[in-house]
Amino acid sequence: MSALTSLTSLLIFPAGLTLILFGMFYEWVDRKLVARFQNRVGPRWFQPFADIVKLLAKEQITPKVVNPFLFFGLPVIAVSGALTAALYVPLIGFAPVRSFTGDLIVTIYLLSLLTLCIGLAGWNTSSRFSLIGATRALTQLFAYEAPFLLALLGPALAAGTWQINLINDYARGHWMAISQPVGFVVALIGLMGKLELPPFDAPEAETEIVAGALTEYSGRGLALFKVGKSIELIVGITLVSAFYLGGLHGVLPFLAKTLGVLFLMAMLQSLLTRLRIDQTVGMWWRFGSILVLAQILLTIVLKGDLL
């Protein structure tokens, strides 16, 4: 690929700018769906964009006790992690911009980099609320990371490869939501945990700890974290729907499948009460892990049978 094509695909389309705009669009869909489920109107289509613009225009208040390098650097690292992770997934139905063997693991860890940055940011600002929020965010990371990874491992095993675009190609025609239902459920719920959506939003429980780890962030820093979160939303949904819902090849299947997953997630968000952090961890380590391990074993056995 020539340098110009590389740069364009990296910065403008399909990653980079387009990705950010798509992320905001998906965030809007999520908020609008939840509002409609609650019999409300919901925000207008440009609301997330307006939020980011407003935040960029506001003053950034820096607490006295922070390490300035970390304070200003962590949002940037978080967003870059999310943007990089997006390079390896089939965004908007096109083939991933970059691809190599084992990029599944790299993508997942790049997404976790975002959560780690949030945790570190909370620890760094060391206000009482952000410390508790950071602790909860990292605890939740330890809780759902393993089952989520294993749930994505199931399709990888079935496809026989660690490379995302190869799994995507294998999934075409194989709807693994049907052949590995338990894995699908765990992946979906794990995604909600990763994105800190209700019922797993204990790390940013508004009624208990104000805003969790990001309490002391304002202005540009907060805007960057928000952008990072919306990118994580898109990348996570793309992964799950690519693996379990028959692969993403083309713009229309992409839109249909990812919006379908988003619809399901919005419905689950409205139906369920927030879990306490100890209940989250308990649930994941007891049910989540066992279910997904059983699913993987079953896949291995079946695959062995078929081969």
Partner: protein
């Protein structure tokens, strides 16, 4: 046991210290005792389980009289015994009774901060209602108080930036309030946590204090009706009802049965409004935003009904001294019945959600459990007490107004946890709906208002009314003029705070907002006095940041 025998029993118990006993009203007994025998008298009543301590009122009998009086009110069903202690202004010493009756601590602190009684033997001398920079030895409710005395003291406001969260050793203090998304009104709580488990709890009130009791003394009886109505937005009708009942008793005016029935109807509608609001808030604290949105959507129905009936959605001003302002015609009656049909279906649905949804139960079942004996000891009131099986409901024990003709059955649960409190409140609403329908179908005929004198005859009276949060206690004293001499309001939320502070220890931090919401706090009801704006517009300004930082700093020591 009827009222007479109950009062005789009390008189018998207090005989050894009784200096003078009178019956100012048929259900009241006033016993004058000396301050030295206060603890003996209280212990005697407490050990015989004669009722519960309802309020402690302080009276300033005037600068000329040179005396102040403290009144300790005990309620047993419909009977009331008041222990009166008269003290000279220069020697206002009283022993504490907080070791015998724990909730007395809030009342005693109010006595001290507002009138200057020195209570000996209290565990903590922290300020509760008054801000830190209020000058010492200046007591707002005294007769010789003037606004010039209330200049803020310099140097007691702390402006330093908060340090990092860890405070001494491994004690980590999480402040909730005065500004916090969990609180709908400002209040300050400090929870020391160890990881996620709460190890100690403290609180501070007074952020919404408006000086209502003092302001009442400068307004005439009719103006005060509207002042007291605005103590609280969601129990406003019960406040105005208690005030009207008291003043009408003093004036020996009998309100028509039609007006009484309409008052009960509006009170029932207000209860529906208040409990639906509470349900939404509790769901929001738990993280169940869907229930929050739906219950508040349905609350719009009852607010529209109230608007149609009285003219306003909040602060209805349905009462006037001597009756009510608004009548119920055919149009209103039909609208109310339709609205109630819809509301009953929804309330039953919420009852089902609250008692069967597993994830919501995870946050409410077994949390904040208060047993029957604990509830009695803490002096809890209202639905918080009824959830533990303790029947404290003024509408049942001492029916007033139309509750004799249209009675309410008491709703109780036995578990005493948050789930029980949800269930009690929702079941109460179903009982209220039933009573409202009965009233509409059997509305007595009669005039809406009765003539009231402008000068209320001298005397003292006590009126107790059941607000959505518990028993509301009004002590009204008149000296025969157009202005009241003293009105003391004791709101139910003040008694229920003990439950939060005691029960938070040992639980997770995540349960704390639920615990606070579970007792349905009404901060506006709690805080009723500090200096307010006087006519020329001078005011005492305290920024929220300074208040917050001061509160945290203060408790860090």
């Amino acid at each position: 046991m009827n009222i007479e025998t109950t009062l005789q029993q009390a008189e018998g118990l207090l005989a050894p210290w009784n200096k003078e006993a009178t019956h100012p009203e048929s259900n009241r007994l006033d016993v004058v005792i000396a301050s030295g025998s206060l603890r003996h008298a209280v212990t005697a009543l407490h050990n015989a389980h004669w009722g519960y301590l309802s309020a402690i009122t302080g009276l300033d009998l005037g600068a000329d009289a040179g005396q102040m009086e403290a009144l300790y009110h005990f309620c047993f069903g419909a009977a009331l015994t008041t222990l009166r202690i008269r003290l000279p202004r220069t020697a206002l010493a009283l022993p504490t009774i907080e070791d015998i009756i724990p909730p007395a601590t809030f009342f005693e602190r109010e006595l001290h901060e507002m009138l200057g009684f020195k209570i000996a033997g209290t565990k903590s001398n922290d300020r509760l209602f008054i801000p830190d920079d209020w000058p010492d030895e200046v007591f707002p409710l005294r007769a010789d108080f003037s606004i010039e005395q209330a200049k803020p003291v310099e140097g007691r406001q702390t402006d330093e930036v908060l340090e990092a969260g860890v405070v001494g050793g491994n004690k980590f203090v999480v402040p909730i309030g005065p500004q916090h998304p969990a609180l709908k009104e400002p209040g300050h709580f400090e929870f020391s946590v160890d990881g996620e488990i709460v190890t100690a709890a403290r609180m501070r009130l007074g952020y919404a204090h408006r000086g209502i009791e003092k302001a009442a003394e400068g307004r005439n009886w009719i103006q005060n009706l509207y002042l007291f109505e605005r103590i609280c937005g969601i129990c406003s009708h019960t406040h105005s009802l208690a005030y009207c009942l008291g003043v009408e008793k003093l004036a020996h005016v009998e309100v028509s049965t039609r007006a009484q029935a309409i008052r009960e109807l509006v009170a029932g509608l207000e209860r529906i409004h208040s409990h639906l609001l509470w349900l939404g808030v509790a769901a929001h604290e738990a993280g169940f935003d869907t229930l929050f949105m739906y219950s508040w959507r349905d609350r719009e129905t009852v607010m529209n009904l109230l608007e149609q009936l009285t003219g306003n959605r909040v602060n209805y001003s349905a009462n006037v001294l001597g009756g009510v302002k608004c009548d119920i015609g055919l149009e209103q009656a039909t609208a109310i019945k339709e609205g109630l049909n819809f509301l009953e279906t929804r309330i039953r649905h919420y009852l089902e959600v609250v008692t069967t949804d597993t994830m919501f139960l995870n946050r409410t079942r077994g949390i904040g459990t208060i047993s029957y004996t604990e509830a009695e000891e803490f002096g809890l009131l209202g639905p918080t007490a009824r959830a533990s099986g303790l029947v404290r409901d003024v509408r049942v024990e001492a029916p007033y107004g139309a509750y004799k003709q249209f009675p309410i059955s008491a709703v109780t649960e036995t578990n005493g946890d948050l789930e029980a409190r949800c269930a009690v409140r929702l079941n109460e609403l179903l009982v209220s709906c039933f009573a409202i329908r009965a009233i509409i179908d059997n509305l007595p005929q009669g005039p809406l208002t009765v003539k009231m004198p402008r000068k209320i005859p001298a005397g003292e009276t006590i009126s107790r009314v059941e607000a959505p949060r518990g028993e509301l206690f009004y002590y009204i004293k008149s000296n025969g003029t157009e202005h009241p001499a003293r009105i003391h309001v004791r709101t139910p939320s003040l008694c229920n705070w003990v439950s939060v502070l005691e029960k938070a220890v040992g639980r997770q931090l995540a349960d704390v907002p639920m615990l606070i919401a579970g007792m349905d706090p009404c901060f506006s009801c709690n805080d009723r006095m500090i200096t307010t704006v006087d006519r020329s517009g001078s005011r005492q300004t305290l920024s929220w940041t300074q208040l917050r930082e001061r509160g945290i700093e203060y408790y860090r020591k």
